[in-house]
Subunit: 501 residues, 2 copies
């Protein structure tokens, strides 16, 4: 492999791009040195891009900002719409919150993108063909963080899935696929079990798919899908999935690609976006000029593409690929066959020296200089949401009940008597399993019982009837810990039935 | 590789075991032929084991049993405590329920075990060293199947995690590890996000670990853990995890082992257990005598061990390993290097012919003839559950509110006015993100709002006060769709705080 950089297909001198400023946070640990390296490359490739430094991470925590950033960061990101962020060290304990979780939630960064690519044979991998982008919903699911302990024994977390949330992440996945010349979008859910919540995600996917006839679509159950990602990731292109599944799946994809140290990511919202490497702040090697700036550099490339600055993005990405090919490797990926082990600074200089070159063996990239607005606001023309007619048809009342023996028939008899004229008791479940009427002795009964009260008559379920039911339950000395109203929407049942119902 | 079976370390003639009958369901597709093969091997190795045939699957569905089995199966499994089950074809649509989900729920089969083993070099695998058992909680989590649509836009699934549920699966994992000479149990959760629910699972794991000082323990976050299972499964031994994570993780482990067609599984409860292959009913190759009976055979081995019949389990398992080594392979694993491609029947005969042999290259097994009761009832002496003092300290009321503009400040003002003397409004969140007071314009607001009402005074939160609050909300024309009471337990907050609370 030649050590001397030979221009292969020289790029035309880029026409001047409009001036633009982005917020940059160098972060902790190796953050400052990799940020310096990345900015030097950006300055060389995109001279009209400016940077506003902002503070995030340890310095912010130490100055009392529990979220790891202060008002200046919020102002900068709101002003510029974009943050390029170095890795952060979150202090342990003491109520410090993760910067990413805080930013994601407060700025509405609903899409988390993780491209996972193998750079075979220059970086070791079990799956040379992998080139996949995971598009993970970033705000909903069990990550909304709504948990309640309801009895001595039972803890609950709410999984919330919304139609607008599904629409914008799925729309984003399709728009991303189209803008990047991707051919297929795979949707992964567990809708064979969670028919309402995951079912909604799958349904919205099926609604949007026809709007993108140029893109192939498929759906997989998440368990099989993740397993296939582990053993044959080459079969995937773009994958869109719910928050929790995407969390697991993107780590699997990054590991099997073998390039987690090189992996970039973005968190994209309606009005702003944040770009950062997947790796951490590695304080053990900080300040030694040996860290690999590639993850943050490729994140910066994603940022340029997001901003519609396709020309410098293409130059940097191809120069970086050529540097890998030329065997100039930082210590983390240096191995037999590498030409030379270089430091952070020298690696950046090598990329700058190759800004007019393209890779010879790895696939070169060519980002279009698209209108960034088409990607940043994919939901501007979301599906019109038909408002369904909602009707209250009953209520599930959850009890904390721990009478000795925990005999569901005892509880059933008491609740039958309390149903009143507006309701009837249709069943009691314990952890979702029917225990009344006709329960089975094998069922483990915790101290947490769901009593289902359908309306006895057409219009007898009202908020007042529910409040009165709660009063009767309290007067009987029973402990209702929560309620879930039962509704139909356009006449269709809006709640799951219990086993045997 | 020798084609002639040479006894290497002949087993002593097994002493006669007590008579025992198990229920057997042959299932659909290839089920009948692999069941016949497996029973012939069981008869040869364990003559005092009897079989009661039961109907499950298509024949049961066709006779009107929507769950895929009838009362006869329930009676047989209750009588014998054990079911060996062939693969089932679940008819599509029409309300047919999965046999496994139905059996699991009604019989309380709380532990799903999936051993994943590589048989290198006789069966192809990327990870020759994998030998892991996934112990998956089988009843709780989002799989309790409690879902409610609450507004035009928002759907909810409850994730329920209980202390007794955590205790028995974790106890089972440790007991299993000890009984099978395993050295390490890894617990996987996402308790950095779900601090109450997943936090409970992790906490119970940490409580039980000291009772098993002979077994090493570790905890991993499920995203990293699943990724490590994909690329370095050799580092794991026994893994215990929650239902959803276990569903994904066990498919990943089975795929990377490369032997999903050979993989057995068990579903174990307090009083009964079910054993079956992981693979499906493969109707396309049914009746041709080419199916591989190994998955069901290894499931039968797990059943024998579960019943304390270690001697025949050892004989069968070693004979099966020797058959693999001898290159007698069914079509699914036949390849260059195999000695001969054999049919279902011939494969079974080959195993029977080797019942006094042990493998020469693969690791032989030696199951102890343990007391089965120690495994079947691991929770008999569960941790004493201290009853905490619960105090009602407020309520979260969830509203469906879709006034034009969806201005949280409007809603906040209205709810402040409705709080009454017993409560105060502390905040409103939308999908878990605080939108009142001091919301941010970037937050996407759905039509679903959580209003948190802490008690205004020490004892002012009562069930009656909550019912009265609901009445005031209804009178104001607002639509409360659910409530979640807020409690402390022994003075400790039993609910998550919102971002910024």
């Amino acid at each position: 492999m030649s050590m001397i950089a030979q221009p292969v297909a020289p790029e035309p001198t880029p026409r001047s791009l409009p001036s633009r400023t982005v917020a940059v946070a160098e972060g902790d640990g190796i953050g400052p040195e990799i940020t310096a390296a990345v900015l030097s490359i950006l300055r060389a490739a995109d001279p009209t891009l400016g940077f506003e430094p902002v503070v995030v991470g340890l310095k912010a925590y130490e100055s009392g900002a529990m979220a790891g950033f202060g008002a200046d960061l919020m102002q900068a990101i709101t002003r510029h719409g974009v943050l390029l962020k170095g890795p952060i060290t979150t202090p342990q304990g003491g109520g410090f919150k993760s910067v990413n979780v805080s930013l994601r939630k407060t700025l509405g960064l609903y899409a988390n993108l993780r491209p996972c690519v193998a750079y075979h044979p220059f970086v070791q991998t079990l799956h040379p063909g992998i080139d996949v982008v995971i598009v993970r919903e970033n705000e909903e699911d069990t990550y909304a963080g709504i948990e309640h302990r309801q009895s001595n024994e039972v803890y609950q977390c709410l999984k919330l899935i919304t139609r607008p949330g599904c629409e914008r992440i799925i729309r984003y996945a399709f728009e991303y696929a189209r803008a990047h010349g991707r051919r297929k979008v795979t949707c992964m859910t567990k809708d064979n079990i969670m028919k309402l919540t995951d079912g909604l995600f799958h349904k919205v996917f099926d609604e949007f798919a026809p709007l993108y006839p140029d893109i192939a679509t498929e759906h997989m159950i998440i368990d099989i899908g993740t397993a296939k990602m582990a053993v044959s990731p080459e079969r995937f292109d773009v994958v869109v999935t719910l928050n929790l599944y995407g969390d697991i799946l993107s780590d699997v994809a990054a590991e099997v690609a073998g390039s987690i140290g090189l992996a970039p990511s973005s968190n994209v919202g309606q009005t702003c976006a944040m770009f950062e490497a997947v790796h951490g702040s590695a304080p053990d090697i900080a300040g030694q000029d040996i860290a690999n700036p590639s993850g943050m550099l490729l994140s910066a490339v994603m940022m340029l593409v997001h901003l519609g600055r396709g020309a410098p993005a293409t130059r940097i990405h191809n120069a970086w690929l050529r540097t890998l090919e030329d065997g100039l490797h930082t210590a983390d990926i240096f191995r037999e066959g590498s030409a030379r082990c270089v430091g952070t600074r020298e690696f950046a200089d090598a990329v700058i020296a190759r800004l007019d070159q393209r890779p010879e063996r790895l696939a070169a990239v060519d980002y279009p200089a698209q209108d960034p607005e088409s990607l940043v606001h994919p939901t501007a023309d979301a599906m019109p949401c038909r408002v369904a007619t909602k009707q209250l048809v009953g209520v599930d009342v959850f009890l904390n009940w721990d009478q000795p023996g925990r005999d569901a028939n005892d509880l059933g008899a008491r609740m039958e008597a309390l149903a009143g004229p507006q309701f009837r008791l249709s069943l009691i479940t314990n952890r979702g399993v029917k225990v009344y009427p006709d329960g089975l002795p094998q069922t483990l009964c915790t101290d947490h019982w769901r009593c289902r009260f359908p309306a006895a008559g057409e219009d007898s379920a009202t908020p007042y009837a529910i409040a009165a039911l709660l009063v009767r339950i309290a007067e009987a000395g029973l402990d209702a810990v929560k309620t879930e109203n039962l509704y139909t929407f356009d006449g269709e049942r809006g709640y799951s039935q219990a086993q045997g119902e």
